[in-house]
């Protein structure tokens, strides 16, 4: 809308006509107090805190509902307004206990701030306060009714934001009360957004309440280690005798890719880090076959010694490496470099949750610039969702899509074989058979015979194809040639952008960094390593190695001398029989004694993603910074372990991690002090105004190398500053040589195993989160005792809200 000019407190401001005054003021740095107003949610105008004086209007007006127009004149601070706000605070305090010293929200309470500002600590109200004991509504949500100031933020975020509608307002007037959907407890997605959004201490978090004070914690922004959306989460940490304990997760300043949102995993499922059964001492298998504690040096010596011996006696081809979906890009890059240059093998793989290699290849040159950032899910005018259930697997993407539909009237088209919750926001839904995903694309592309088409199906297709621009999200239902067909279909439309949905925080990064037997970092085929041979300073194995399944097949044949596993539990995930691995020397870097670790000869206690620094890349290709928050004495990062093992095997740390000063670049000179082999890394650093890193254990040294060498990770203007500031930078997949299908070949096995995780599970890691388990348990027990449909919302594959709606 056209801009209008108006006056606030004597300042001329300009904003589009119809902007809410409170927002226009905020943009101009004028803070207007509010309780009930919340950006993006429906207007409530319940609290009366944002009263302002508008010229020529008789009564004070609420800034949250006033739309600006040309020539208006407002006053936001005056004795009259201060008096009105003081009266409002006094009214709010009429039923609110003055127990700030013992309240969980003390120190970060909006009502406390307002009371200090406007001063209504002494009340004229003499009526008895309505009291009720606090209630536990779920394993993670507690409600202390007297503290509630009835701003209805929680109700709106649950209804509009989450589309769960588990909270409502009951009764009326002074007896109004926030009520949960099941009478005395909640059945919901347990996201905790109601707690985060509560301006006072009425809703409190089951993990954090009464443990500490906000000013006693350090607040570290990092990236959630669970799903592949990669939300920014701020971890509140406090010193403990073993290092630093994580006490709280939230998105404190509402910055980053996820804004206001966090799901149960980002908010509560950090507790695995504090578990007492974390491994803190390396374990070595002794002569009797028992795992015994050892020192780090003993364990590293044993690991390096055996790996070196086996490499020399049986060759790199007899060694397998399995990487992780939850380690940083730097660690993944280092791991594949270690495997290829030190172990001398391409037998490297990871648990693939989506076919990123096919995605990148399919995009190729024609699809350059067509990969979508996660941010676009909140702004795209039209979205096609092929497969997947974002409510369960991509909570942030689901939140964004709901927001997009609510605030931007976006049109959402859903293609799925089973009902998913997001269909409630969908403009149209196309139900297909479970094996019909390929046919669905043929049908959408115009082939009427591909699906038993009816008028509704054709209507869906016509509406979709009439969209001037379209964001296409596809799940792991599409792999290999299926992905290519999706991209081909999209590129035939007017303007389509794409994203491939996988699972786990750094699945995309693992593929990008070349944890694949046939592809190097940046999806370069191993047969055509290009400049990497020179960069890595030696011959690279040029035939594709064994993939994860072949590695275990080799073990079963007795052909696998050693297996090096970083942060992964393939024994459980792929159902590997323990006797398969009896003749294999196994090294496992893990937090817990998992099924895989139990079979290991050496178990090295690893730090998790919350205890290290680096970067991760979400499934949309948005790279973000990971900061060290927690700390557990005795553990080490995977990065450090890889470097130590490599150097103990005799490798040159400087070749693995570019640290310190290299050989001087000759800059064209062939004689004198400046002559010598060019140190391309140093030249690159200088060209990018970066310093050499001083430690071989500094992951940012490897980040430099990734930016220098990995197609798709080239430095972007301002990129490093954005990254360090905690913002996401979107990376376009490379349209590198990998794009030629001859190299990778159509016969390439995609080996995608969807994690099928839900809101309340997170692979092996999820099993070690007591909070996730307690929520799961609450649902299964509730189902048993109430005789409802007998399944937890997770097991039933739908949300609690949805079930509630249907029941």
């Amino acid at each position: 809308m056209a801009d209008v000019t108006f006056t606030v407190d004597g300042k001329k401001l300009t904003a589009p006509a119809g902007t809410l005054l409170i927002e226009a003021c905020r943009a101009a740095g004028i803070a207007i107090p509010q309780f009930c107003y919340y950006p993006g949610l429906a207007l409530q105008a319940a609290c009366r805190m944002c009263l302002v004086r508008q010229e020529k209007v008789g009564k004070l007006q609420t800034a949250c509902t006033t739309q600006v127009a040309e020539g208006q004149v407002f006053t936001t601070e005056s004795p009259e307004i201060a008096q009105a706000r003081k009266a409002t605070v006094e009214l709010v305090l009429g039923n609110h206990p003055l127990d700030c010293p013992v309240c969980d929200a003390g120190g970060e309470c909006e009502l406390q701030d307002m009371t200090f500002k406007y001063g209504a600590g002494v009340s004229l109200y003499t009526e008895a306060k309505q009291h009720r004991e606090e209630q536990q509504w779920s394993p993670v949500v507690f409600f202390d009714r007297p503290r509630c100031i009835l701003c209805y933020r929680c109700v709106r975020v649950c209804n509009e934001g989450m589309d769960v509608a588990a909270l409502g307002v009951q009764s009326r007037g002074v007896t109004s009360v926030i009520a949960p959907n099941m009478g005395d407890h909640l059945e919901c997605e347990e996201c905790g957004n109601c707690i985060d959004i509560c301006p006072v201490g009425a809703l409190t978090s089951g993990t954090y309440r009464y443990k500490t004070r906000p000013w006693e914690m350090n607040h570290v922004s990092t990236i959630c280690t669970h799903c592949a959306d990669g939300c920014k989460t701020t971890l509140g940490v406090r010193s403990a005798n073993y290092g630093a304990e994580i006490i709280r997760g939230d998105n404190r300043d509402r910055s980053g890719i996820n804004g206001d949102f966090l799901c149960i995993k980002g908010r509560y499922a950090f507790d695995f880090a504090n578990r007492p059964d974390r491994l803190t001492k390396p374990l070595l298998r002794d002569k009797d076959g028992q795992l015994k504690e050892a020192t780090w040096e003993q364990a590293l010596d044993r690991t390096a010694g055996r790996l070196r011996e086996l490499r020399e006696s049986r060759g790199g081809g007899a060694i397998g490496v399995i990487g992780s979906n939850r380690t940083t890009n730097e660690e993944n890059y280092l791991l594949q470099k270690f495997a290829r240059t030190v172990l001398g093998t391409n037998n490297i793989d990871h648990h693939r949750t989506a076919d990123y290699a096919a995605f990148v290849r399919a995009l190729g040159e024609r699809g350059r610039g067509r990969s979508a950032s996660l941010r676009e899910t909140a702004s795209a005018p039209a979205v096609l969702l092929l497969g997947n259930d974002p409510t369960q697997e991509h909570p942030l993407a689901a939140w964004n899509l709901r927001t997009d539909v609510r605030l931007n009237q976006a049109r959402l088209y859903v293609v799925n074989h089973t009902p998913i919750k997001l269909e409630r926001q969908a403009t149209a839904t196309l139900r297909i058979p479970q094996d019909g995903y390929g046919n669905a694309i043929r049908f959408l592309a115009g082939d009427d015979t591909a699906l038993p088409a009816d008028d509704a199906g054709r209507g869906f297709r016509d509406a979709l194809r009439a969209e001037p621009s379209l964001l296409i999200l596809f799940g792991s239902e599409y792999r290999g040639a299926g992905v290519a067909r999706v991209i081909e279909f999209g590129l035939g439309l007017a303007d389509a952008r794409f994203a491939c949905l996988g699972d786990y925080v750094n699945s995309r990064g693992a593929a990008d960094m070349g944890l694949l037997p046939d592809l190097l970092p940046g999806y370069l085929p191993v047969s055509k390593p290009g400049g990497l041979v020179e960069e890595y300073g030696g011959a690279l194995p040029q035939t594709p190695g064994m993939d994860l399944i072949q590695i275990f097949d080799a073990a079963a044949r007795g052909d696998l001398a050693a297996l090096y596993v970083v942060g992964s539990n393939p024994v459980l995930r792929y159902g590997i029989a323990p006797e398969t691995l009896k003749n294999t020397f196994i090294v496992v870097q893990e937090m817990f004694l998992t099924e895989t670790a139990q079979l290991a000869d050496v178990v090295l206690p690893a730090a998790n993603l919350y205890e290290k620094s680096g970067t991760v890349t979400n499934t949309f290709g948005d790279q973000q910074l990971v900061n060290k928050a927690g700390d557990l004495a005795g553990t080490r990062s995977d990065f450090e372990m890889i470097v130590r093992i490599a150097t103990k095997m005799g490798a040159d740390a400087k070749k693995l991690v570019p640290y310190g000063r290299g050989v001087r670049a000759d800059m064209g000179q062939s004689r004198g002090a400046q002559s010598g082999e060019a140190d391309r890394h140093a030249v690159w650093l200088a060209a990018n105004n970066l310093e050499p890193k001083l430690s071989p254990l500094d992951p940012f040294a490897v980040l430099d190398e990734i930016e220098r060498l990995v197609p798709g990770y080239e430095p972007q203007a301002g990129g490093r500053a954005e990254l360090m500031a905690g913002n996401d930078i979107h990376l376009e997949p490379p349209s590198a040589p990998a794009a030629s299908s001859a190299d990778a070949g159509p016969a390439r096995r995609d080996l995608v195993l969807p994690a099928a995780d839900t809101l309340f599970t997170s692979g092996t890691l999820g099993r070690y989160s007591e909070k996730l388990n307690s929520v799961l348990e609450a649902y299964t027990t509730a189902a048993r005792t109430t005789g409802r449909d007998g399944l937890s919302p997770v097991a039933a594959g739908e949300s609690a809200g949805e079930r509630d709606r249907r029941a």
Partner: protein, 172 residues
């Protein structure tokens, strides 16, 4: 959503509900009238009624409960066969509404919002019922009785008790 296949309501009312939800741009707009009709037929808005109404208008049971708890004329527990509503707002108060209310409590031996053990009468003190010109007034179910005195109120209640209903226009 198509018409409910299984319903708690009489065929006539169910058919009425099927039509009501089509009369508004949003189904949920039919909620309050639907609750009133349902209450008249079923006596109270119990859990089963709430569940069916929620599904008919396409909202959650919690949202239906929120609305019921907001309106004092909607209730979840059955009341007496004759629900005696005594107005004590200003016009009625000036003309003896409080006395009428006291007389009711005394005669029926129940307090505000209680029901007699035989289930015949329930009593409620209500806000203005719009009969100020003929104050004091009492509403029994949907029938108005105006210009009452404690004596005429006695007679009225007796009449309800003995005849078990005057010209009962239905509803509770």
């Amino acid at each position: 959503m198509s018409a409910e296949t299984q319903t708690l309501f009489s065929p006539g009312l169910a058919a009425r509900f099927d039509r009501m939800v089509t009369l508004y741009p949003q189904r949920r707009s039919a909620l309050v009238p639907m609750l009133l009709y349902a209450q008249d037929e079923m006596g109270a808005l119990n859990d089963a009624v709430i569940a069916e109404v929620a599904s008919r208008v396409g909202i959650s049971e919690l949202e239906v409960r929120n609305v019921i708890s907001y309106y004092s004329m909607l209730h979840t527990k059955p009341r007496g066969k004759y629900h005696v509503q005594v107005c004590t707002n200003i016009s009625c108060m000036l003309r003896g509404g409080n006395e009428l209310f006291a007389r009711c409590k005394e005669k029926l031996k129940i307090e505000n919002r209680e029901t007699t053990p035989d289930g015949l009468f329930s009593l409620e003190e209500v806000e203005c019922i719009g009969a100020c010109s003929w104050a004091p007034a009492v509403q029994v179910n949907y029938d108005f009785h105006e210009n009452l005195t404690p004596e005429s109120l006695d007679a009225l209640l007796d009449q309800y008790r003995t005849q078990n209903g005057l010209a009962d226009r239905g509803g509770r």
